[in-house]
């Protein structure tokens, strides 16, 4: 792949969190059946269950602010590990301090050129 991996990682991260913040149900397109999400310690397998988890989080709206994005090739199949840190504001209490978060994704270059991923999310650090 001729594209700059850092650019690919950043583009994916921006797309992922924009989707999360504006149309959470559409996150389903970014996972596949073999994906696993670990969210605050809960392990969840497969697109349906992952999407259910993400769309049922106890806040109406949220906004992610990305602080750092790191990436590395994950192995011979062309996958990419992406490591993100930032903060998240949620309603109904947007005036409270934002929560810090970190998240890791393993991006799988499955055809047709869409990225699917399995994630582990660290516990949000309360400020």
């Amino acid at each position: 792949m001729a594209m700059d991996p850092d650019a690919v990682a950043r583009a994916f991260v921006e797309h992922y969190y924009a989707t999360f913040d504006t149309n959470r149900a559409a996150l389903a397109t970014l996972y596949q059946d073999g994906s696993m999400l670990t969210f605050e310690g809960d392990k969840i397998l497969g697109t349906t269950h992952i999407t259910n988890k993400l769309t049922s989080l106890p806040f109406q709206q949220c906004q992610h602010t990305i602080a750092t994005v790191d990436c590395q090739p994950s192995g011979p199949q062309g996958g990419m590990l992406v490591f993100v840190s930032g903060s998240i504001r949620t309603s109904p209490n947007p005036e409270e301090h934002p929560l810090r978060f970190s998240q890791v994704g393993d991006l799988d270059p499955t055809p047709p050129a869409s990225l699917s991923l399995s994630l582990a999310r660290a516990r949000a650090a309360r400020a």
Partner: protein, 138 residues
């Protein structure tokens, strides 16, 4: 992973990775805090480290980077450890850590997150293929 033997070689599925991840994390930060030079043995020729955005490749360079960090003593306190099987290599594991880091002489603790991809080696243990470290501010 010295002396860990291990059962971890079966690696992989779901909760099987928890024991390997915990054992690795404990060993890694204990070694970091007590004998940083010994960390180089956990990496291989193909390993990659991103440390606060700086990229380093290969065990020798990684070992050098870690031993040259600008502090004499430190102490890691791990808060959370998550793991998942990784699809990249047979038996490989992704480990995700968050915690605090106290540098000697500094008043305040730093918060950090770190990610490892552990890959099985021929000796039935694991080496660190990928390592990404970030301090968490704000």
């Amino acid at each position: 992973m010295d002396g860990q033997g291990n059962a971890g070689a079966t690696g992989g599925g779901g909760s099987d990775c928890d024991a390997v991840a915990r054992a690795f994390v404990e060993y890694y930060y204990h070694t970091f805090d007590a004998n940083r030079a010994a960390l180089a043995a956990l990496y291989g020729a193909t390993s990659m480290l991103s440390f606060e955005g700086q990229r380093v490749a290969g065990a020798v360079e990684i070992g050098r980077k870690l031993t040259q960090l600008p502090f004499e003593q430190c102490r890691h306190a791990v808060s959370t450890v998550d793991c998942q099987p990784s699809p990249s290599f047979p038996g490989s594991i992704l480990v995700f850590v968050s915690g605090n880091l106290q540098l000697a002489g500094e008043e305040h603790q730093l918060r950090f997150s770190q990610m490892f991809q552990l890959v099985p080696n021929e000796q039935g243990s694991f080496f660190v293929q990928n390592d990404i470290f970030r301090l968490n501010y704000g």
